[in-house]
Symmetry: C2
Subunit: 168 residues, 2 copies
């Protein structure tokens, strides 16, 4: 066990002590809400949005990319009853800093024997934050396997201030 | 704006008030750690693992599936310097309750015109929790595009108690 992981049990013990009645929370999210946001280390969706245990599915990937969240969204809606999606991208996102061919080239240089597999990976970077939020919301609104009655909104989280701002 | 979403600004105002110096946190995670866990509404990885803003990438999808997190892990390691992965599955997971053909059939019944696309979606459910953790850790350890020096551990989170337990 590394030094990093050995901190989990200590922190976890404190959490368990104050766990209260959370053990009886049901599986389906109480607010029928799924949040899609970036994996970025600076973002704490629970704290910054006031989401408590049991409230909402939280789907996180590099960028908060809707397409990458599709499998999870289908499961969230069809098996666990969510009917709202709030999609967040954020300022100073790593996805604004590279292109798919650049990252593919970097990987191919390190692993020339896996060039074919690498060429098949779309990394979904984006160049304009607000446009990327709108386009991801449109993707979800138009996707045939996302339920038509879903309320879908798009937001930007500012890592500099902690503020959220609705885009669509 | 729905009633649910209108709660974001209120909760967010409180967060912003106590934001402190977090606005100057750098983009790369301080603990060089990426956590992969489920989107489940009952899980708060920051609170239950003692992860603070700036510490670690948090990747979440239905089940905490390693394969589904691969794009994010590659970006996390190659562009943002993480060198550890802690993968969590959890008790009472929705992924233990169905099979891919069952969900595909449900979707095809609702959307017969999209049968071909639906047949192409692997939903990654699992039947045995501990075995699924081990198999996902093996997947990451053996994947050619996950850096060889990565420390990879596998854990179970108990939604009934809030406790975490290391499996591998």
């Amino acid at each position: 066990m590394s030094a990093e992981h050995s901190t989990f049990p200590n922190a976890n013990n404190k959490y368990v002590e104050s766990f209260g009645s959370k053990g009886s929370l049901p599986l389906p999210p109480a607010r029928k809400l799924a949040v899609v946001t970036c994996m970025d280390a600076r973002i704490d969706p629970a704290a910054s949005l006031g989401i408590h245990e049991g409230d909402a599915h939280i789907i996180r990937n590099a960028g908060g990319i809707a397409k990458d969240a599709l499998r999870s969204i289908i499961i969230s809606q069809r098996l666990l009853g969510t009917r709202e999606i709030a999609l967040f991208h954020h300022t100073d996102c790593g996805m604004l800093t590279f292109t798919t061919p650049q990252l593919q080239d970097q990987l191919k240089e390190a692993h020339p024997e896996h060039s074919t597999e690498i060429s098949g990976i779309e990394f979904h970077p984006f160049g304009d934050l607000e446009a990327a939020v709108k386009s991801d919301v449109e993707f979800l609104k138009n996707h045939p396997l996302v339920l038509k009655e879903t309320v879908i909104t798009g937001w930007i989280y500012e890592v500099e201030t902690g503020k959220v701002r609705q885009v669509v």
